[in-house]
């Protein structure tokens, strides 16, 4: 029984009904990863021992008629900024490779294991999550499965690309300024950035504490919703997850109904024709003719840039003092600049953030959901130093996230949906809802998927291509013993 083309819930159903064992599923995907990963450079460690131990537990529960989680037997992988017991938390850096393996799992990994998911490995990313392309000088660039000469988007590029390449049906990433939304869009899969503070990020290596949020990638909205629900819970860290779920996602709802949808207007001059038509396609599918203006989006992006630089610098100050040359140049330069920036800049940015949150809350008095581009254009070439947007030459690593950064400042939940066009690279649209209304994002996403207006594009490489296996260079980590 071939599960490589199946979505997460189909796999869980097959395992639950004993049509295939979790061990067989794990072996199937591990073999697929060994053969196909070298093309895409998604994985930095394949946690075979952990996957097989997870699978054994699930199979024992199935055999003993024990309690089965909603993701029983479903393979997944995590951005290598998530702690995994026995594995080094690289966070895309050379510096962290000298640290000891993590002593315990991140909260999200614990939750996924309780739901029955099988951890297959850790995934490549931008160094310290500080960028939008996942071009990593230490571990190589993540390659976009739809065109391996192009970037996957970042910083959770390995997570999005692993799902798009069919290496796993589910993956976890984190989003500080667009790091889930952007790679999901550029790789043609679904991604959910929950409300800031909704999910426990304990055990996830930080970039900027004011914005860091963990979330899932998947090939459809059903899988995304189940993974999101599996990770809900109260956290033990200072940044406590919000426990109250007032509006649980309801998978039975397949229509938009009376949800009021509007299109956001900001940075329009930077949007290329393809991204503009992707927005129009989704707005038309939802019957939306209304538009709203995001107030002071430019200043919101400026506040995001300042807060991220200052908070990121604080995280890495010790390494910046002792070994600055071990960072990638773009990461190092921005962190050093953040370390010497005046406190008044940071505090004014935080004050502006409060104002911006209040203004967006007023906007949601008249609309329920806002549509916005996920990126100004499709994936750029790996190594491109600039892209032309609105007649200006801009660096993709910094500017690809211009449509996602302002939304991060308000901490809103966002579902990124893929928009596919014949013969062209994928694009994405953000579905933005008020704080803690992930259910609205998912409801609109379900409706769009159900109508056929949007769907993910998975590059299935099959099991017969052995040429890639010979050049296989993925590290293997024994993990838990």
């Amino acid at each position: 029984m071939n599960m490589l083309d199946a979505d997460a819930l189909t796999i869980a159903d097959a395992v639950r009904r004993k049509r295939i064992s979790a061990t067989e599923v794990a072996q199937m995907f591990l073999q697929h990863i060994r053969r196909q990963n070298p093309k895409f450079n998604c994985f930095t460690f394949v946690t075979e021992d952990i996957a097989m131990a997870d699978a054994k537990s699930v199979d024992a529960a199935v055999a003993g008629n024990g309690v089965l989680g909603p993701l029983c037997g479903v393979p997944y992988a995590v951005k290598n900024s998530f702690d995994v017991h026995g594995v080094q938390t690289l966070a895309g850096s050379r510096i962290n490779a000298e640290r000891p393996p993590a002593p315990r799992d991140a909260a999200a990994v614990e939750r996924m294991r309780k739901a029955g998911a099988l951890l297959l490995g850790t995934l490549n990313m931008e160094e310290y999550a500080y960028g939008f392309t996942s071009e990593n000088a230490h571990y190589g660039a993540v390659r976009n499965p739809h065109d391996i000469s192009k970037v996957a988007g970042g910083s959770s590029g390995g997570s999005a690309a692993a799902v798009a390449a069919g290496l796993v049906p589910l993956a976890l990433g984190s989003d500080t300024g667009g790091s889930i939304r952007l790679p999901a869009a550029l790789c043609g899969v679904f991604g959910l950035k929950p409300t800031f503070g909704r999910l426990n990020r304990d055990g996830c290596f930080p970039l900027a504490a004011s914005f860091d949020t963990v979330g899932p990638f998947a090939r459809n909205v059903d899988d995304l919703a189940v993974a999101y629900q599996a990770m809900l819970g109260v956290g033990a860290d200072l940044h406590r997850a919000r426990p109250a779920i007032e509006h649980a996602p309801h998978s039975g709802r397949r229509e938009v109904g009376n949800v009021r949808v509007a299109t956001a207007e900001y940075f329009d001059e930077y949007l290329d024709d393809d991204a503009r038509s992707a927005m129009a396609h989704v707005a038309q599918a939802l019957g939306s003719t209304r538009s709203v203006t995001i107030p002071e989006a430019g200043r919101a992006r400026a506040a995001h840039v300042l807060i991220t630089a200052a908070e990121g610098a604080a995280v890495h100050l010790a390494s910046l003092r002792t070994r600055p040359m071990d960072f990638e140049p773009p990461t190092r330069d921005r962190l050093l600049a953040g370390a010497i920036s005046p406190a008044t800049w940071y505090l004014q940015a935080q004050r502006f953030r409060r104002w911006f949150c209040n203004e967006l809350a007023k906007m949601f008095e008249d609309v329920d959901v806002i549509l916005a581009p996920a990126s100004p254009c499709a994936a750029t070439q790996i190594g491109a130093e600039s892209m032309n947007l609105g007649g200006r030459e801009l660096n993709p690593r910094a500017y690809m996230g211009m449509f996602t950064q302002p939304i991060s400042v308000a901490g809103l939940p966002v579902l990124t949906i893929p928009v596919l066009r014949e013969g062209k690279m994928p694009l994405g649209v953000q579905i933005i809802a008020p704080p803690f209304r992930e259910d609205l994002c998912l409801r609109v996403g379900w409706a769009l998927g159900w109508s056929g207006a949007v769907h993910a594009k998975i590059v299935s490489c099959g099991m017969t291509d052995t040429s890639a296996a010979r050049s296989h260079q993925v590290g293997h980590q024994s993990g838990k013993s």
Partner: protein, 78 residues
């Protein structure tokens, strides 16, 4: 009258100016770096100054934005 935004731009500009005069000078950037225990390696100085200039421009966008006292910076409650 000089605005706070203009001062931000000036601060970033001063660093650039100092560099144009003498890239190894112990001017603004080095003094601030020293205060937080950092030394900017000479061969990465240009990149750091460009990044700092970018932050200065971002700060200039928000420093004069009118905010009320109620929108002050977050306070940690016990």
């Amino acid at each position: 009258v000089i605005t706070v935004a203009a001062l931000c731009e000036q601060l970033a500009g001063d660093v650039m100016k100092a560099l144009q005069v003498d890239p190894s000078s112990d001017e603004v950037i080095d003094r601030i770096a020293h205060a937080v225990g950092l030394a900017i390696p000479p061969d990465v100085r240009t990149g750091v100054v460009l990044a700092f200039d970018g932050l200065g421009k971002a700060a200039a966008e928000i420093m004069d934005f009118p905010l009320f006292d109620a929108e002050s910076a977050p306070v940690i409650a016990p």
